[in-house]
């Protein structure tokens, strides 16, 4: 039985029920931005995010019905039509599992592209074409862990992106190169420079 005050996600886990998550991270504040974890709570007008909604006694909750699966599938389709998920195997698995078809929006659907990978410091690189805006890096850099406040946002809506103060290179920001952001990034948008260089070099390396 779920402990009082547990989220639907926690309760489901302890009951052996899987609910997919994308933005959620066990050690970070849940902001419930991706909405992949939504479930149907009978009596609620909208679906509710399992990673933050607290379970209540006698609640009737469907974690995998048609309505829930449609929402998850459409979110995944829209995401994959926007962002480069080639280094996000967990998202690839979800796309397959939900039968998501990212091509349905056409080959001219706008993608979020940010130009060349940002290589501006010795420790890590930033490849924002792969960024899904899960907010984890911003959170670890701010109140969730580091209180460094090097990372923030540009734009809004579809044009939101992760940014530094006036887009300055990392060494010119408050960044202390703790690497926490790289550690929590789920898609390869942030990765160690050595790993990046190795991957870059691989195709032309000695056979």
């Amino acid at each position: 039985m779920a402990s009082p005050g547990a989220t639907i996600l926690e309760a489901a886990r302890s009951a052996g029920i899987t609910i997919p998550t994308v933005c959620y991270h066990d050690h970070l504040t849940a902001n419930a931005v991706c909405r992949i974890c939504v479930v149907e709570w009978m009596g609620s007008r909208t679906l509710v995010p399992a990673c933050v909604a607290k379970i209540q006694p006698n609640a009737r909750i469907y974690t995998d019905n048609e309505r829930v699966r449609t929402a998850r599938r459409v979110i995944l389709e829209m995401l994959a039509a926007t962002v480069d998920l080639s280094e996000a195997p967990e998202l690839q698995t979800l796309l397959a599992e939900y039968g998501a078809d990212p091509h349905r929006f056409g080959s001219d659907a706008a993608r979020r592209e940010h130009g060349p990978v940002k290589v501006d410091n010795p420790f890590y690189v930033r490849d924002y074409d792969k960024c899904i805006l899960c907010w984890r890096c911003v959170q670890v850099c701010a109140e969730d862990v580091q209180f460094t406040f090097a990372l923030g946002f540009n734009g809004r809506g579809f044009e939101t992106s992760i940014a530094t103060f006036f887009d300055r290179p990392m060494p010119e920001t408050t960044c202390v190169f703790c690497g926490n952001c790289v550690g929590v990034c789920p898609t390869g948008a942030l990765k160690g420079k050595r790993e990046y260089l190795a991957a870059q070099g691989a195709p032309i390396g000695p056979r």
Binding site: S107, D108, A109, A110, R111, R112, E113, H114, G115, A142, F149, A150, L151, G152, F153, N154, G155, R156, F158, E159, S161, A163, T164, F165, F166, D167, R168, T173, T174
Partner: protein, 171 residues
């Protein structure tokens, strides 16, 4: 395949006259130590003097309010009324939303763009820096459609042929 336009602040710098610099200084002093809840008022007050906000000003505002610099950045980049790039001395906001469209806003937008020599799709800033033209969502004056604002001045029931006179000779 289309790409979303990357929205980034410019690396350009503001050049403040001595009078502007003094005025900004006074504002920053007034907001010193007031914290996050005074960020929007402070940005409004500073921008009223400077026209737009560059990295230097943003950093000074952060320092004065005693908040992280990236928070100032985040806020400037979110709100449509804060500018991270140079804009005209007068901003012309032409409503092209529903009620104004029904009253002929397309012709008003075209007339403004033609008079100022700007693109009727996206607006922009005149080469002499006199005007910035914005095609704007509903400005809350639908009962006076079509509607536009020149700076803080409201103009309702506008007809295309009035536009040159409204925008005057500066352009």
């Amino acid at each position: 395949m289309t790409t979303s336009s990357s929205v980034s602040p410019t690396a350009a710098h503001l050049h403040l006259s001595p009078r502007q610099a003094t005025a900004v200084h006074a504002i920053l002093r007034r907001y010193r130590g007031k914290g996050s809840a005074y960020l929007l008022p402070c940005l409004h007050d500073v921008q009223a003097i400077t026209g737009w906000l560059d990295a230097d000003l943003a950093a000074q505002i952060a320092e004065s309010l005693d908040i992280p610099a990236v928070q100032v950045h985040n806020v400037i980049e979110f709100y449509a009324l804060f500018y991270d790039h140079p804009v005209g001395r007068t901003i012309v906001r032409v409503c092209d939303d529903l009620a104004c469209y029904l009253a002929g806003s397309e012709a008003i937008v075209r007339a403004c763009a033609a008079h100022l020599g700007l693109d009727p799709e996206h607006g922009g800033t005149t080469a002499d820096g006199a005007f910035t033209l914005e095609i704007h969502p509903c400005l809350g004056r639908c009962e006076q459609a079509p509607f536009l604002m020149i700076g803080d001045e409201a103009h309702g029931f506008v007809r295309p042929e009035q536009v040159p006179a409204l925008l005057g000779g500066e352009a």
